[in-house]
Symmetry: C2
Subunit: 315 residues, 2 copies
């Protein structure tokens, strides 16, 4: 009898196989594509929830409590903590913090960190692949958590069915939420550490910004106050997320959102493939450096350099 | 006698030819590459100064005064205002505001706006090409101005020999400068509207952040207070920029910076070419949509879709 493939074992819920597959995806191993192709037909059942917010907003604690609430409802939950390594934070340890919590011993919870290797486009593509693995492995709620609220996070959040944006009093107030793109992507807003001074001001500021940025549909993002350390507001948060799921399904938005997501995924994989087959080898072989030198010394212009690199690739 | 090409006329300083060439570059016309190839050997003389900062910081007024000061020193100056169209601002009008000023009548000044068409990678590549045109046309100081302080701006600023970061009191203070990447790219920091309350606090905050983010070399970015409306501090600003130019030359940093820039330019053109030859046509022909549908309906997986798109391109 033929032994089961990694993807088949992951499909049956084998945690070790899931972990190995994710590592293959992260390392951009070629064999990963075959396994992903097999798993693809089993995907599409999970709900993907994006969680984003600035460092210090209490994302890890909140996510921990959030996971427990979903577990209480009987759902299998996976968390993917994406850490775009920032020159400032030197990379955070979202996943590690979660892993140290009591969640680790729960067989219905799977936690995984991913960090930026190479390009951010590659990261978005890899995150999509990891979600596909977890979805096929039977995780019903997949939480994708990112540090910060930059363009990279906005790109990654395109993967989510529902996006939670966390804010917190005392971090520069409305500036943290006025960053480009953040108001647009939030489906539910959270004011965490709501027992602190200034929480109501943030709620008011968010409310005003939501008025200024009306969405194209009927969903008015609710603003939930939470105190993650005590668990206050978490039940309400899960309810609002469920309401958002129901809304998108009823409004027929889900299919459009998933189609757009699928399209973005294809484009991300296309770009990743171009980087892997053209740019990375040119860098590794020193071709980029030697052509940059020739262009700098005016032996050729940059377009001639590009032509040469493309031709070398075709051979 | 053969008539002169657009590039030859631009090379001789003909403003209309310069403007036409830039339009060709913006529209990604194929003929642009031939002209750029001709101009390449005449480039490398201009100094490129990047100017960035949040909306409302007074960039247009400051740039106007900055240009006049360089003119007073006898330099030919070009301004490229890059407006990454934001969902918030709906695109700004940097270039238009400048064009309406008295600078318009000065034949030694060339002003041009560029906006995002398609990808940001494409924008960075196009900005590089526009600078090459202006450089070859004899502009000695080329100012590249961007709205906002996101990743797109950081990418565009890689083009510059010297980067000025503008801050202003009352916009959330240190939050505006703590955004990822901004402290690293600034060679000179400006606190504009320095007659306003809170200017000294920003200077202190910047000073502290510079201590926290030491650079790899000996250049400690100076912090200049300006009041652009009255012209206060502009002379000092130009002096500091000149000092930075001298420093990079003496420290032998210039060549490394230019080589790195050339390399980035080649990578940007490679990515642009991939988008133009693969992604844009697939979008235009509806192939992306139809494959997204097939992947969504599980007729194929995303990797198979990518394979098909790549194959169709090779035919």
């Amino acid at each position: 009898m033929k032994s089961l493939s990694l993807a088949q074992k992951a499909r049956e819920g084998d945690r070790l196989s899931v972990a190995r597959l994710i590592t293959m995806v992260e390392n951009r191993q070629e064999e990963a594509e075959k396994e992903l192709a097999f798993l693809h037909s089993y995907t599409g059942k999970a709900k993907v929830i994006g969680v984003t917010g600035p460092p210090g907003a209490g994302k890890s604690t909140l996510t921990g409590k959030f996971v427990k609430q979903w577990r209480a409802l009987g759902k299998k939950v996976a968390v993917v903590a994406v850490d775009p390594t920032s020159p400032f934070t030197g990379g955070s340890l979202l996943g590690d913090r979660l892993r140290m919590s009591e969640l680790t011993t729960d067989p219905g919870v799977f936690i995984r960190s991913m960090s930026t290797r190479g390009s951010l486009g590659g990261l978005a593509a890899a995150t999509g692949d990891v979600i596909r693995v977890l979805d096929a492995a039977g995780y019903e709620i997949i939480i994708v958590e990112t540090v910060g609220v930059g363009q990279a996070e906005v790109d990654i959040m395109e993967i989510a069915d529902s996006v939670l944006v966390i804010t917190v009093p005392g971090l520069g107030d409305d500036i943290q939420i006025s960053k480009a793109g953040i108001m647009e992507i939030g489906d539910v807003f959270i004011v965490n550490k709501a027992d602190r001074h200034g929480a109501d001001q943030i709620v008011t500021a968010l409310d005003m910004m939501l008025d200024l940025n009306p969405t194209e549909n009927d969903w008015r993002p609710p603003i939930i106050k939470t105190v993650a350390t005590s668990g206050e507001g978490i039940e309400d948060l899960v309810k609002k997320v469920q309401e958002h799921f129901s809304y998108t399904e009823k409004a027929g938005l889900l299919e459009g959102r998933k189609m757009q997501r699928t399209k973005n995924e294809i484009v991300n994989i296309l770009k990743k493939r171009f980087e892997e087959t053209v740019i990375d080898p040119a860098e590794a072989e020193g071709a980029l450096d030697s052509y940059a030198k020739k262009v700098y010394e005016k032996e050729m212009d940059p377009y001639q350099a590009v032509d040469k690199i493309m031709k070398e690739k075709d051979r």
